[in-house]
Amino acid sequence: MNTLVTCKELTKTYGKKTALNHVSLEIESGHIIGLLGPNGSGKTTFIKLLNGLLTPTSGELYVKKLPVGIESKKIISYLPDQTYLNMNNTVQDVLDYFGAFYADFEKDRAYQMLESLKISPKDKLKSMSKGTKEKVQLILVMSRRAELYVLDEPIAGVDPAARDYILQTILTNYDPEASILISTHLISDIENILDQVIFIKEGEICLQASVDDIRMQHQKSIDALFREVFKC
C-alpha cells in the first residue's frame, strides 16, 4: 500500500470566494474512494487541482511525492466533468489519439468494451446521445493502465442498465494496486463499490472513512448519512 496523493493545507480561492479551505488528506493505492459533497462543495476544484488544470492558491499537493505535472499526468487517468473531445471525430479517431498520447493506453480493451456496449467505432461523436458520449469517454479513461483514476461525475447521464455495466467495467478493469477516486452525488447507485468515502462540505473535508466502518458505526447507508450531514 503506498500513498498516491498527499495534500497539506490545500487552498483555492476564486477572487473572494474560497472553494477549498485548508484541505489535508492522503489517498492510498488499492481503494475505490467516493468524493461526495453537494453542488458547489469543492469536488471539481479538488479534482482540477489534482490534474493540474488549476493551480493552488496556497498549500501543498503531491502525487507520489512529486508536484503535479507531466509525471503525475502519466499515472492519473482523468475523466473530466465536461468533454474536451472534438465532436467531429469518430470513436476510432479518438482511440488513435489516446493511443498516441498515453503510453499506458490499451486499445484492445477499449474495443472490447465498445463492443459489449454496442458502440460502433466508426460513429462520429456528434451523432451520439449524451449518454453514449459519456460511455465512450469512460471507456477511454478506463482503458489506460493508470495508477489513479479520477472520475468526475462518471455516471450522471447514463441509464441505470448502462450504469450497472459501467460499474462492472470499473470493477473488473482496474488493477487492484490502483485507486479510483469517483466524485458523484448519485451515492446510492455506487456506494456498494466504494470502500472509502470523503465527505466534502463548503470546501472542507468533514469525513474520510471506510464505508463498512461507517455502516457499522451509524447503522445506516452512506446515502442516508450523506442526507443527514448535508441536510439543507
Binding site: G30, H31, I32, D164, L167, Q168, L171, T172, P176, S188, E191, N192, I193, L194, D195, V211, D212, R215, M216, Q219, K220, S221, I222, D223, A224
Partner: protein, 134 residues
C-alpha cells in the same frame, strides 16, 4: 464479462442492502451457499475479483469477507491455487444448525412482538405444518 461464466449464482441473488456492512452480508450469503450445498465441501471459490464483479462490490470488501470466513475456518487458502470450502463436514453441519437456531430465535422474537405466547405460537406452527402437508 469473461471469466465469470462458471460462477454458480446469478447476479440478482445477492440482494445487498446499503445500511449494513456489506462484507457481513456477503459472508451470510456465502454461508448460506455452503450449508445449502451450492458450494460443496472442497469446492474452489471464484476469485475475489470475479465475485466482486458479480456482486457489484468493491474487491477489498469481498476480500474482507473471504478473510473473515477463513478466520472462522469455513474457507481455506492454498497458496497458489486459490480458496476452497472447508472439507470439515462437522463444521458445516454445526454452521447449519447455528443458522437454523438463529432463524428460529428471530421468528420467536417477531411472534412475541405480535403478542403471541409460546403455546399459541406452537399451536400456529402445528396448524401451518398440517396445512402444508395436506
Amino acid at each position: 464479462m469473461e471469466g465469470t461464466k462458471n460462477i454458480k449464482h446469478s447476479e440478482n441473488e445477492w440482494h445487498l442492502t446499503s445500511d449494513r456492512p456489506v462484507f457481513i452480508q456477503i459472508m451470510e450469503k456465502l454461508k448460506l451457499d455452503i450449508v445449502t450445498g451450492i458450494y460443496q465441501p472442497g469446492d474452489k471459490l471464484p476469485s475475489v475479483r470475479d465475485l466482486a464483479g458479480e456482486a457489484a462490490v468493491n474487491p477489498n470488501t469481498m476480500q474482507r469477507a473471504f478473510s473473515e470466513l477463513e478466520r472462522e475456518g469455513l474457507v481455506y487458502t492454498q497458496r497458489t491455487n486459490g480458496r476452497f470450502i472447508t472439507e470439515d463436514i462437522t463444521m458445516i453441519d454445526q454452521l447449519k444448525e447455528q443458522m437454523a437456531l438463529d432463524a428460529i430465535s428471530q421468528f420467536l422474537k417477531s411472534m412475541e412482538q405480535l403478542g403471541f405466547s409460546d403455546e399459541e405460537t406452537m399451536k400456529l406452527i402445528k396448524e401451518a405444518l398440517k396445512e402444508e402437508t395436506a
